[in-house]
Amino acid sequence: MNKYVLILFTAALFSLENSAAMNMKGGLSGGHSGSQNSLVPACLDAKALPSPHCGRVPTAVYRQTAKSNGALNGLLYVVFSQNSHIYLATSTDQGTTYNAPVAINRTPEQMYDDGENRPKIVLGNNQEVYVSWTHKTNGRYSGDVRFARSLDAGLTFEAPITINSDRALISHRFDAMKLDGQGHLYIVWIDKRDKAKAESLEKAYDGSSLYYVVSKDSGASFLPNSKRVDNSCECCRIAIDTDNKGNVMTLWRQVYPGNIRDHAIAYLDPKANLNTSSATENSALERATPMRATNDQWQIEGCPHHGPDLSIDNENIAHMAWFTQGEAHKGLMYGQFDLSQNKIGLTSSIDQSASASRPQVYVHEKAVYLMWKRFEGESMALLLRRSNDGGKTWLADETIATTLNGSDHPDWLWDGEKLFATWHTQSEGFQIIPLASSLQAEP
């Protein structure tokens, strides 16, 4: 009996050892890369130049320069990541062809280049081009916020600088950037310095915090880092826009008590655009408090990596799109927040299906546009929905693109007159999709 037991025991051990050895070998060969690399034929050529089609997470803005014979004259700017560089490519024919791209960071560096954490581009009022991104530092989830500017419409860039003053190898990521009405440049990001400090004191700290900087000299220098709020969610992008007076507003996922991860909206800089009378001190105080913008009651331990979008209209209604799995709402949501009265307004479901994701919102006068991705069994579809009455009623959904392989988050491109959708897909490259005239805002 004992002998039998021993033989079996040895056999079991051998089998374990054997599989451990196999596993070790597998571990060494693990780590495939480039699963989301471009499949566009021109990009498969090893000698292919960097381009918005071949690179990752291209992000576009448009500068309207002049009109001649009713035709639009302007320049399309696209930043994207490729081979550890952020590049800027410009196009005079709305993305049909691109000029040779400019490497913004001349020294290569690791960077975050996924849909949720991508390079940002903002155009100044003259020839300035501002670009920010997150440099991947050593350690999981670690990063530094980087910034570079051009004063000659993107022909040349000054050397990049690091924006976060805390240089610990922790998270300073998910940068968002916006100019306010006075031409001051704001950058806000998710920062773990307060969490790290709390942990070193063995104190609990939910989520991360939001920090921001402002430059009042076109990006030549920045005022010191300021903390905006504690307990933001750790890895959802921050949405940013200006209100009807030019104040920068941010919308982000916040960790409310009990690990409820709904959204908050706030003036990024409570003291901006206010003069020094005592009445405005109250306003500044009032503005300092973030407001609850969505009430879904989503309790989740962990970050869903699915941040909101924001677009503010002339009447100071913030139009918002977001994802939730809360008690109150599930799926993709559209909602309004009245910034004049500080209260939540209309709230409606965009798409409750489990395969819908990445909602975007854009408002122009009374027209509100929603765009999102939905996997439909075989292909990924990009859907568009429009309202002509400020979000009260909606026209039928339209599928504006589909793809059979991987795809980036979709985004908007406003050329000063018309709205476009932009979408980078593995198979098709970077597409600038004109919205059908039936979907354009009425004159």
């Binding site: 079996l8 597998g26 571990g27 780590g31 890369s33 489990a354 996997f375 991987g406």
Partner: protein
């Protein structure tokens, strides 16, 4: 002394029973799996769910979806680690929804939790939504996510972290009887 001996014989017997079931499982599994790579992680593609269920025909099992970016998933792995002597290649399947780029990290996490003998997969598709859809068109992708398969493969979905008690309950109901008390 007598008590210690008893304990010792109990643990040896327990190990033997488990070792035996592992050997049996390993041999039945290897004949069916088509993966030739000796990696800890098998790529989970649109056909993998059929393979996982075919490999476990007539058997109850738990299929767990997890990610290294999900703190409760990592806590859940600790529960699997605590109960690992009761888990075999047959009665549990781990599927990481991370990208193939993160394979090395994921393998390390599995090794750290001593779960390298568990049948483990990793999402491998340019459209991860396709895999979610194949697994369950009604799953939003929230993690951790578990599916409890009965022997007829009727299944029950569960979102959120499983407690050790829940797992223990399932194991007592579905595992081959390992009743230490009867050893004497």
């Amino acid at each position: 002394m007598n008590l210690q001996l008893k304990r010792w014989s109990r643990s040896i017997l327990l190990l033997v029973v488990l070792g035996l079931s592992m050997v049996i499982n390993a041999s039945t599994m290897s004949s069916k799996t088509t993966t030739t790579e000796s990696s800890l992680l098998k790529p989970f593609n649109k056909n993998s769910l059929s393979q996982i269920t075919a490999d476990r025909e007539g058997q109850a099992f738990i299929m767990v979806l997890w990610s290294i970016d999900c703190p409760p998933c990592l806590k859940e792995l600790e529960h699997f680690q605590a109960l690992k002597i009761q888990f075999t290649k047959a009665n549990i399947v781990l599927i990481s929804t991370d990208s193939l780029d993160d394979s090395a990290l994921i393998e390390q996490v599995l090794i750290d939790h001593q779960l390298q003998t568990i049948d483990s997969w990793i999402f491998s598709d340019s459209i991860p939504e396709r895999l979610r859809y194949k697994i369950d068109p009604n799953w939003y992708g929230e993690l951790p996510r578990a599916y409890f398969y009965e022997t007829d493969h009727a299944r029950l979905a569960h979102s959120g972290m499983l407690t050790q008690a829940q797992l223990q309950q399932w194991l007592s109901k579905h595992s081959p009887p390992i009743n230490v008390k009867t050893v004497d």
